[in-house]
Amino acid sequence: MTSFLEALAWLGDPAHWSGPSGIPIRTAEHLGYTVLGVLVAALIAVPLGLYAGHTGRLASLSLALAGAARALPTLGLVTLFALLLGIGLGAPLLAFVILAIPSLLAGTIAAVQSADPATVDAARAQGMTETQILARVEIPLGMPLLIGGVRGATVQVVATAMLAAYVGNGGLGRYIFLGLGARDYPQMLAGSLLIIALALVLDLSLLLLQRLTAPRGVRAA
């Protein structure tokens, strides 16, 4: 318990809340990495997932690749790219994108395919174009699953963003690795608590969004 008190004391120290390595800046960096990683991955995975889910083409291939990609160790990718691409944000960003794509792709495909085939068939028979079916039927009905994919990707990138500090970048992971090097457990613990808080806030926000986007008629059922 004393270590928790020491960690709280570390967190309460005003010196740790200002300057370029202060908690606000590190948190902003961590959040920035996460948003950037998920966004770039979404730009790739969501259109591909919409196409694969709607047409059924490439769907099983995409899901198999996404499944296999989950076996990749995050630390391995981060260190590998850091050696290949050198110091900077490029290497971790590449790792974030690769690790975020499986969740996003699987979530998007599941979202599009979650609509009852009879509903989609009826929409087509009414005279909706394929784009209209996607935009007005499949996406609204599958929105919670799509956000679920974003949630999974965010969890993955928040964790990986911490390892970015290991290869010389910023973010909240800094405190853990500084503490580790200096055998300063309170600082490691304080950094850990901050990351856990950030991860939980992000996850809860997306969970809330997931609930809010559930289509009303379906929730009423």
């Binding site: 076996a71 590998l80 856990i196």
Partner: protein, 216 residues
């Protein structure tokens, strides 16, 4: 390649340590998830809260959890036991909701008719409910196994031996082959364990096999 050939003994040692840390959490999480899921399914509100809690637990990044646990349970940050406890928690976070879904996927009609035929509760669970929940349980264990094997490597930054050490050591010394070998071996280990689980599933649940040409 040269590095790999020169260090086969090191790699073998790390692979062994990796499995020792990864497999017990998978087994323990599986075993504990069954009673927990049955318990959760008994009450609607309990099921909802278990699912939500599991989701949030899984959202906690691994390294901070490795750091946090010693403060809570008195393990050492650098001990394999610490990693194993954390991985068991993640395993439960994934496996309890999966097991809960698995038991819910069993048709109530089938359970009702088993009761009507005179199965005692324990026999009904072991001979009817568990086998029928099997396919969904298997899917859950596969995810847990792959995820656990990948997560073990994170312990490397704390100095806990596993294939993750290849990343730490390779990065520090600038040996690309060492890191690449670590990535490939970790992924291969995950895929091999996954394949073994699929085979085990086929052996234990012959009714789930795809109807082949030979059996037609």
């Amino acid at each position: 390649m040269r590095w790999v050939l020169d260090n086969l003994d090191v790699i073998a040692g790390y692979t062994g340590a990796h499995l020792v840390q990864a497999l017990p959490p998978v087994l323990i999480a599986f075993a504990l998830s069954l009673p927990l899921a049955k318990l959760a399914n008994a009450r609607g509100w309990l099921r909802t809260s278990v699912t939500t809690t599991s989701g949030l637990l899984y959202a906690i990044p691994s390294l901070p959890l490795f750091v946090l646990l010693p403060g809570l349970i008195g393990t050492s940050v650098r001990s394999p036991l610490n990693i194993a406890v954390a991985l068991t928690l993640y395993g439960l976070a994934l496996m309890v909701p999966a097991a809960s879904d698995a038991f819910r996927s069993v048709s109530r009609d089938v359970l009702g008719s088993a009761t009507a035929q005179g199965f005692a509760p324990a026999a009904r669970f072991l001979q009817v409910e568990l086998p029928l929940a099997g396919p969904v349980l298997l899917a859950g264990v596969r995810v847990v196994a792959v995820s656990t094997i990948s997560l073990v490597t994170v312990g490397g930054v704390l100095g806990v031996p596993s294939l993750g050490m290849l990343f730490v050591d390779g990065f520090r010394r600038g040996i690309l082959a060492e890191i690449a070998a670590g990535v490939v071996l970790t992924a291969a280990l995950a895929l091999i364990i996954d394949a073994l689980l699929v085979l085990l599933g086929r052996a234990l649940m012959p009714w789930t096999r795809q109807q082949g040409v030979r059996s037609a």
